[in-house]
Structure formats: structure tokens, C-alpha cells
């Protein structure tokens, strides 16, 4: 990499360089990495995470209650027995060791554990049906170039759309990767997979879960015709290579997204520093979730107006990702209120669980997942704020929210705004600034 030469270096920047360098030195190269990577590829191990990652699971479950876990597991076992009628599980190559089964049983399969299965060899069988989920059988498939993709089950609500799928055919079909899969709804809107592609980099094997951004509020509670599309499939071969097969897998299916509870919010809009924010509605997804064992979640729909025209939409949700971990490792939070928006890192959080401000899991702007907004390399095609100066933002939080009483408090302490097209000074947008709040909304969790 070439050294940077187009940014003025000052003593602070030089000090940051030294600090990073000193800190990074703690991480030392692993002389056995080459061998380990070979082993992974040779063994066709699906796993992209190591066993020690599983240790992070327990603090979460402790936090949310071991009783709930026990209930999930017992319910799951019953559900598996009932739904499969004792049918022998489909065998997955390399699976079936004791530790694998144990890991599957103890970690009620949340999405991360499902996709980043922490146990070498992969799950024994259908770990994703373990929670008492609301998923429905799809069982539809498409074949292209000798490879068949089958959608086994699916689930959708206000915070997620997830699909259980598998691939058969080809040389071994033990391992595969679908880098470009997406869903299309009846209106033609596309939902690129969140848990795949470069960002996630999972080489799927056997039954797998694919996570997509949620369907819009208007599509909840009624049957929706979706189309699963994939144009590429990378598959393992006996040579050890991973050839990419181009094909046209297109699978239409119908699903009824769980409606949950939608609350219309009638709180007045708030204006600070020229920006107006209005909370319009909240969708509460039920606990229990589907396929990946999430505990439910909330999608809060807000409208922001007063934004400069031509502001790039992906620049809008620039919020602090700080979180505090309690001394025992069991607490988590956003930074404790000492990070004013003037510093360029405004905060967005939700207060619901006592002492645990939540940070958003996904932020969508104008109906698109922020990470998938830039599908083109050409900046002129990137979505921008229009003449109305308005953008709609869906902020998704995950947790077992309850409706009917109480409230949640949504706080924006600032919004970063800029329009690079307005001109640059010293390499920065001329009008870069933070609009100062705070905008604080105490949102009742019952219908007005």
C-alpha cells in the first residue's frame, strides 16, 4: 500500500499513528495459519468461526434468562419431534461428533451461531428449527447447470426475513456459497442478502440460513409473493478449487409475514437546529422469532426533514457505535452520555430495558438497507436526498419488547449532515456539520 500523501499530517495524527502501531503489535502472526487454512479448505469445513467464539454466547443467555433458554430447548425438542415425526436427520458430511451435538443443543440457534457455526464440522442437523419458531414450509426449488437450490422454510416479520435453504447436485454439493442472492417482492423491490457476500463471507454447507432485510410495514400480515434469485453459486469440487457456477436460480414462493403489533405514534414532531424529526410508527415483532431464534424486535419508523438536497443517504445514519461493557462483562450500553454530537459522532439509542440502552441493529433509509444502498460504483447514481429535504428512516432494535403498556425512549443527540457536491475545502465538504438535538421521544407501547 502506498503511503498517504494527500492529507496534512499534524502532531495529533502522528500520535494516533504511533498509538495504533503500538497497540497493534500485541496481535502477532500465527505461524500455523497456513496449515490451518489448508485444513479448513481440505476438510471442507463450513465453519468460519472458531470454537472459542461460542463462549460469548452464555453471557447473552444469562442476560435474557436461563429459564427462557431451557424453555426454548425443551420446546424445540418437542417441536422437532412433532414436525419431523421421528424421521432420521439428513446427514451432513463431517458432522455428528459429540461436541457438535452438544454445541447445537446448548446454543439456541441465534443467527450468528447458525451462520458462523462455532463448531468444526458444522451442525448435525436442522439446528435452525430448534426454537419454537413461526417459520413455514416452502419446499420449492430451482435447478440451473446441474445444481439445485431448495428453499426449505422461511419466516418473515417486521425485523427480518430469513430462509432455510440447501443445495444439491454437482460434484459433492457439500459446500457452497451464494454471493449474490436476493429477494424481490411483488412491487419489484429487491432485498439483497445481509448474511452473505463479501461482508459475511460464509461458505454455506448443507442446510443454511440466509437473512434479508425485513419487508415493509404494508406487507405484514398478508400473503406476499416473493421471488428468490441467485445468479452465482460457488461450489467445492474434488480438486479443492471453488469454481463459480453462473446460473439462473429463480424460486417464487409465498409467505405471510407475521404482523406483530403496529403502533401509530402521535407524538408531535421536534425541531432542533433546522432539522425536524417525527416518529410515525413502531412495529413490534413477536418474541420467539423464526429460524434464528431472535427474541423479537422493534422497527421504528421516523421521518427526518430539513436535510440538504443531494445529501448522500448512506451518510445519514452516522451514529456512534460505542457501547460500554459492565465490569462483569454482562452489561452493555451505548457510551454513557459524554459524547456530544459536536464531536462528529452523535448517538442514536433506545431506552427500554432498565440500564441497558440499545443501539440499532439495522438502519434502513428510504426503505433500503444502508449497506446495500450503493450497488453501483458510480457515485452519481447513489441515492440522495431529494428536493423535499426529507428522508424516511427505519431503525431496528432487537429484544423482547412487550406491547400494551409502558414506553420506550428513542434519542437522537445529533445528526451529521453534509453535501459533498456543494464543494470541498481541504478535502472536506464545505457544509459538513452536526445538527444538534437532542430529539427525545417517549414512545408509548400501546395504541393512542
Amino acid at each position: 500500500m502506498s503511503q498517504s500523501n494527500d492529507f496534512p499530517h499534524d502532531p495529533f495524527e502522528e500520535h494516533v499513528t504511533d498509538l495504533l502501531s503500538r497497540t497493534a503489535r500485541v496481535a502477532r502472526p500465527n505461524p500455523a495459519l497456513g496449515q490451518q487454512v489448508r485444513q479448513r479448505l481440505t476438510n471442507d469445513s463450513r465453519s468460519l468461526s472458531q470454537p472459542r467464539s461460542a463462549a460469548r454466547f452464555w453471557p447473552i443467555m444469562t442476560q435474557f434468562g436461563s429459564i427462557a433458554v431451557a424453555t426454548l430447548i425443551v420446546g424445540a425438542v418437542v417441536a422437532v419431534l412433532l414436525t419431523q415425526g421421528g424421521k432420521a436427520p439428513r446427514h451432513i458430511v463431517g458432522a455428528g461428533t459429540g461436541p457438535v451435538a452438544n454445541a447445537t443443543a446448548t446454543s439456541a440457534p441465534m443467527h450468528d451461531q447458525a451462520c458462523n457455526d462455532p463448531t468444526p464440522g458444522g451442525p448435525t442437523h436442522y439446528p435452525y428449527t430448534l426454537p419454537p419458531d413461526h417459520s413455514v414450509v416452502i419446499n420449492k426449488s430451482a435447478t440451473s447447470n446441474g445444481l439445485r437450490i431448495t428453499l426449505d422454510r422461511a419466516y418473515a416479520d417486521a425485523t427480518q426475513t430469513v430462509i432455510l435453504l440447501h443445495v444439491t447436485g454437482g460434484a459433492t454439493a457439500a459446500h457452497y456459497d451464494l454471493p449474490n442472492m436476493f429477494l424481490t417482492d411483488a412491487s419489484g423491490k429487491q432485498y439483497p442478502s445481509i448474511s452473505n457476500g463479501d461482508a459475511d463471507s460464509l461458505g454455506y454447507r448443507g442446510d443454511s440460513i440466509a437473512l434479508f432485510p425485513p419487508l415493509p410495514q404494508s406487507e405484514l400480515g398478508a400473503p406476499q409473493r416473493l421471488n428468490f434469485t441467485s445468479g452465482q453459486l460457488t461450489q467445492s469440487a474434488s480438486t479443492g478449487a471453488w469454481p463459480t457456477v453462473t446460473g439462473a436460480w429463480s424460486i417464487p414462493f409465498t409467505i405471510t409475514p407475521v404482523a406483530g403489533t403496529t403502533i401509530t405514534v402521535t407524538l408531535p414532531a421536534q425541531t432542533h437546529d433546522g432539522l425536524t424529526i417525527q416518529v410515525e410508527s413502531v412495529d413490534i415483532a413477536p418474541a420467539g422469532g423464526g429460524l434464528d431464534g431472535l427474541n423479537g424486535g422493534a422497527r421504528i419508523h421516523v421521518r427526518i426533514s430539513g436535510l440538504p438536497q443531494k445529501m448522500v443517504l448512506t451518510d445519514l445514519p452516522e451514529f456512534s457505535t460505542a457501547f460500554w461493557e459492565g465490569p462483569s462483562g454482562g452489561g452493555w450500553s451505548s457510551s454513557p452520555g459524554t459524547m456530544p454530537g459536536a464531536m462528529g459522532c452523535p448517538e442514536l439509542d433506545l431506552q427500554y430495558f432498565p440500564g441497558q440502552p440499545l443501539l440499532p441493529g439495522i438502519i434502513e433509509v428510504n426503505g433500503d438497507d444502508v449497506l446495500s444502498l450503493h450497488t453501483s460504483e458510480d457515485p452519481t447514481t447513489w441515492p440522495k436526498v431529494g428536493p423535499s429535504g426529507t428522508a424516511d428512516m427505519d431503525v431496528l432494535f432487537y429484544g423482547p419488547f412487550k406491547t400494551g403498556s409502558g414506553s420506550m425512549t428513542l434519542t437522537f443527540d445529533g445528526i451529521r449532515i453534509s453535501t459533498p457536491e456543494s464543494g470541498m475545502v481541504n478535502g472536506l465538504p464545505k457544509d459538513l456539520r452536526v445538527a444538534h438535538g437532542p430529539w427525545i421521544f417517549d414512545i408509548p407501547l400501546q395504541q393512542p
Binding site: 502472526p29 487454512v37 457505535t321 459538513l432
Partner: protein
């Protein structure tokens, strides 16, 4: 072996092509992802996963383009996604004792472990405290700002390379870097002034910077 030859081998399914790439890029990938995540175990996972993915996706790599930005983009994206998944699932990293974590980690060669274990306690505590403070300060930034700072000041990339790795345009990268620097400066001044050398912990820094820009 030349880098391009190594990649060609990977594209043909020959794992011998991986070794030169691992030798050349492992240290920076591991340190990059460690700085991005603040979690050594996670960084090791991500580094290993990145090389697995490089091999699997090698056919998609354009040999006419430099390998470094492509590879670091994979590692950066993976770190971003893992952090996102962690937040989505409210995954909590245990406050592990750094010494214990490192003494157990397989990446620690015996010599390094001995050096760490025999380090003067005061020196060890000081270094650990500095690392903890830096990570706490980086945690106060947005993930994009954090990426921008680490890509620029750790990897030493120019705007074009940083933007390619971060998956954004150069202007957006500069915005993130500027915001990140301002935020980091204020966090360090307010919370960890002892981490700044004398002369950098006051507003005189702004004056110095303005002079430099002019």
C-alpha cells in the same frame, strides 16, 4: 513467488498459492482486524476466514488489479459484518484479562508468551492500560470513522486506497476521517488526557493544524 503467481495458483485450486499470500499479508490483516474489533480472538477468526475466502473467491479476482486493497476490503467487510452481527444479537464480549487471553491464544509463540509473562508488572499494566484506553476511545466513534482512522493511520493508505477498501467514494472517506479525528481528539482530551503527550491535550492543537493546512 510473485504475488500474481500465487493468486494464479489459488485460481487453479492449488493451495500452495496461499502460503506466500499468508506470509505477506497475515500480520497486517490480523493487526488491522484487531484494531477494528478490539478483540484478539475475533481478529484471529476473521483473519483465518479472510484467507479461506480469498481462496474460495480467487476466481473472482482481477489479476490486473492490486491484491492488497481487495484482500483488506474482504477483511474489513468481514470485521464490519461480525461487529454488526454481534450488536444485532447483543453479543457481549467478556471482559477478559488480557494477559490470560494472550497466554492461551495459539498465536502466541513461546518466546512472546514468555516475554509477556516476564514483563515488568508496571510496564505491562501501563501498556494494557494504554490499549484499553485507545480501544475505549475508538469505541466512541462510528464504525465507519473507526475504519477510516485505522485504514489511514495504521495501514497508511492514501484516500483512493482507503475509499476502495472501505467501499465508499473518496469524498465520503475524507468526511469519515475528519469526523473521526475530531471525535477521537475530543474523547482523548476529555477522558484520557494522559494518553496525549504534553502539548497535544489542549486547543493549541487546532492552531497548529490550521497553520499546517494553510
Amino acid at each position: 513467488m510473485e504475488e500474481v503467481d500465487a493468486i494464479r495458483l489459488c485460481q487453479r485450486g492449488d493451495m500452495d498459492g496461499l502460503e506466500p499470500l499468508i506470509e505477506r499479508y497475515q500480520a497486517r490483516a490480523l493487526q488491522l482486524t484487531y484494531l477494528l474489533t478490539g478483540d484478539l480472538s475475533l481478529a484471529e477468526d476473521i483473519t483465518q476466514d479472510s484467507f479461506v475466502l480469498v481462496f474460495r473467491r480467487s476466481q473472482q479476482f482481477d489479476l490486473a488489479r492490486p491484491f492488497g486493497p481487495w484482500f483488506f476490503r474482504i477483511a474489513t467487510n468481514m470485521a464490519r459484518e461480525r461487529l454488526r452481527s454481534r450488536r444485532r444479537l447483543r453479543e457481549v464480549t467478556l471482559d477478559s484479562d488480557l494477559l490470560g487471553e494472550q497466554a492461551n491464544t495459539p498465536t502466541m509463540d513461546d518466546g512472546a508468551a514468555r516475554r509477556l509473562l516476564t514483563l515488568d508488572p508496571a510496564t505491562y499494566a501501563e501498556q494494557a492500560e494504554e490499549r484499553a484506553a485507545l480501544f475505549a476511545a475508538l469505541d466512541a466513534l462510528t464504525q465507519k470513522q473507526r475504519e477510516a482512522i485505522i485504514l489511514r493511520y495504521y495501514l497508511g493508505c492514501n484516500d483512493q486506497e482507503c475509499a476502495a477498501i472501505a467501499g465508499c467514494r473518496e469524498g465520503a472517506f475524507r468526511v469519515r476521517l475528519h469526523g473521526g479525528l475530531q471525535a477521537l481528539k475530543q474523547v482523548l482530551r476529555k477522558r484520557y488526557p494522559w494518553l496525549l503527550p504534553a502539548g497535544l491535550s489542549t486547543d493549541s492543537l487546532e492552531a497548529q493544524r490550521n497553520v499546517a493546512v494553510e
